[in-house]
Symmetry: C2
Subunit: 142 residues, 2 copies
DNA sequence: CTTGCCGTAACATTTTCTGTTACAGATGTG
DNA sequence: CACATCTGTAACAGAAAATGTTACGGCAAG
């Protein structure tokens, strides 16, 4: 399982919900979203469940149930989606604690944490600059 | 296996090589580096092998063998290390091709690729801003 | 009450990383 | 030249995580 596709799945689902709403379709079921993403409905329910807990989508239960956006596409950024699906850091520290008797082993982790933190902030800035409305616009013109 | 620690291992090794050189130690063996990182020497050889192919370190074979930096610590950036160890993208696209009969399924991948490309560039900018000399300085003051 | 769909548990599969052992090859030293 | 030392790499085991899949309880509209 190469890279993490959770942000991709969630963004795809949200973009699809935004387009459906613009076309007058109130809600979409997990089956309908899964048909577009081409995966299992349970994957979609798990992803949309994360987004619901973050307040980005709403769900209706019972017969005629389905999902819809909880706010305008312009007001949902990819950063919010990233946080909602639990984005993981691109770089990890040592799996086992380094040798603390070595000066490098002792000081490298704080130094790396600082650098990796700057990288994470750069990622967040880029993601905060793109909304679901942006994604929808770029998607339908492609 | 949570995140990718390859950049961490490689940076640790390079920082340790830089400090050893400053202390007058010409080369370090993979065993000596492994003792600081607290892992198996083969892991270190694999990592330093990547760095050697990228021209960042040199290796001496035979008896009295070992590794040394191929250039000054100021001239090795974390971006070069990232490329040397084959850094993977933080976000992946769909595992299976989306449904191309859906407008979102058709257009989402180019849109995501564009956004993810901007994120990747932001990461590279940050990594290019930090050198092994920077890491060594931050490490020994911690 | 029936039907349709969500929520979630449980499990199989796949992939990747890390760690480990083993051994061939290279090279300085005596 | 023989030897000791260390690299380069293959082969394999184990662990962890993501994804996909089946199954089933629960909720709500008609």
């Amino acid at each position: 399982m190469a890279a993490n596709s959770r942000l991709t799945i969630a963004t795809h689902a949200l973009t699809w919900l935004a387009l459906a709403h613009r076309r007058g379709q109130e809600v979409l079921t997990s089956d309908q979203v899964a048909a577009s993403v081409n995966t299992n409905p349970v994957i979609i329910r798990r992803s949309l469940g994360d987004l619901r807990r973050a307040g980005l989508v709403e769900v209706r239960h019972g017969a005629g149930a389905g999902w819809s956006l909880a706010r305008a596409p312009e007001e949902i950024t990819l950063l919010q989606v990233y946080d909602a699906v639990g984005g993981e850091q691109p770089f990890g520290l040592h799996h086992t604690e380094p040798n603390l008797e070595c000066p490098v082993g002792r000081g490298i982790r704080p130094a790396l944490t600082q650098t990796y933190g700057r990288v994470e902030q750069a990622i967040r800035r880029e993601l905060a600059d793109t909304s679901i409305a942006d994604m929808l616009r770029e998607t339908v013109t492609n």
